[in-house]
Amino acid sequence: MTLLSFDWAFIIEKLIMIAIIVFASLGIALYTTFGERKVAAILQDRPGPSRAGPFGLLQPLADGLKLISKEEIIPSHANKWLFILGPGLAMTASLMTCAVIPWSTAVDVFGRHVELQVADVNIGLLYVFAVVSMGVYGIMIGGWASNNKFSLMSALRAASQAISYELAMGLALIALLMTTGSLSLKTIVEQQVSGNWWNIVYQPLGFLLFFVAALAECNRTPFDLPEAENELNFGYHQEYSSMKLGFYLFAEYINMIMSSAIMASMYFGGYDLPFFNEASVAPNIAALIGVGTLLIKIVLFIFLFMWIRWTIPRFRYDQLMNLGWKTMIPLALFNLLLTGAVILAKL
């Protein structure tokens, strides 16, 4: 039958990988919520969640159970379909990023060469950028469909914040692209594995700009203006309850994990373990070490996100816009110019 003449093993391999990555991300996100509460507790000199299970380790499961068992409320004047679509879109957009992240070198499974990346597209970086710009729809649609002034205000805030910081993020990415000469994340990581230095050495300012923009895109403190509870009650998810609220909160943590993975891959060598020759061990073991290295880098970035959240207060809205348009974009343009000049001088 010519209709279905594609490689079924390939499809199954990719499906299994997608399932593993999605469930692993969900699992890590679950425990990131726990980590956030523990980090907050340590920074504020209190014990944090400690009752459910040893060291409070079962706390996220209890929280999840609580969220699922709450009553689902759809406000009577809300736009029903869009109200349900909003959290789904937020979750989808945040999970879509993981398609282009290279998790490690290839492994051999029963004689089959398996790349630990869902899709090595030659536009990987732009794909990430496109998914980031999709992320704002979940918030906007949810906020608007709630038919609540505070939700709408918060949604508009989130959207304008995302658009403003996307610009600086894009310009920082272009500077990185000029040094690497490739848009494929796999190629960028491979360059750092085989080259001497990680990209952070060539692009320190670019990384700083990207990191600040990532904080803003994830709606994390000091940029969590859409959730400013003293001004907006609760934010764009004010009317949501039960698992739909859970999706919004979860999407934020998945965004954090994904942006950590992207930053680790682009600027910090991805799965590259420094001072270690991957060729000296069996390929499967090298791949395992690679996954572990990337996960450790991700955890460190997430810790940095949390550290900032529990240390720095929230910006005022005009400060946020000033920082985005009047500081970040000129700095990003300067970085672009500098990178171009260095590349020209090297020729």
């Binding site: 209709l3 869009l82 508009l156 658009i163 996307e166 348009w325």
Partner: protein, 166 residues
């Protein structure tokens, strides 16, 4: 029919249905959301044509930026379906005739163009939509218009920042 053709027809149907929904939705927010789906379907077509770069730029620029601004304006103006002014039957009639003639014209044009006759779309062929050939073409054959338009965009962006500073 092979897999590519099935994908092609499915995407085309998806694009047309979404485009029709843009027109017949009463709620302007719904129209914008359907339009976003149209852009996704068109990006799917670009990928079938082996133009991944165009596909992703189409999503970033149209679905990611311009449509967000559309949503923004509609949400801020708070347009509702019951506030929409009722159009007169005469206006509707004139609209149908004008649109219908334009459609006939377009179909006649496409049918008569000899380059398009008896041809089907070339799927998964050509490399001009990939980033390397496209970059080479833009920076060698079309370098002057490309640079002028990028300076224009950059000055528009700097202008926005300057206006914001006042």
């Amino acid at each position: 029919m092979n897999t590519l053709e099935i994908l092609f027809y499915a995407l085309s149907a998806f694009a047309i249905v979404s485009a029709v929904m843009v027109l017949i939705s009463k709620n302007p927010i719904h129209s914008v959301l359907w339009l976003i789906l149209v852009f996704f379907a068109i990006s799917g077509h670009y990928i079938l044509l082996n133009a991944q770069f165009l596909a992703i730029v189409n999503i970033i620029v149209y679905a990611g930026a311009i449509m967000v601004l559309f949503l923004f304006v509609i949400m801020l103006m708070n347009v509702k379906k019951d506030q929409e002014p009722k159009k007169q039957h005469l206006v509707k009639f004139i609209g149908v005739i004008a649109g219908g003639s334009f459609l006939t014209l377009l179909i006649a044009l496409v049918k008569q163009t000899s380059q398009l006759q008896g041809k089907t779309v070339l799927l998964k062929e050509g490399t001009i939509g990939l980033i390397h050939p496209l970059g080479k073409a833009l920076f060698s054959d079309y370098v002057v218009p490309f640079e002028i338009s990028s300076v224009l965009f950059l000055s528009a962006m700097v202008g926005a920042v300057i206006i914001g500073k006042k």
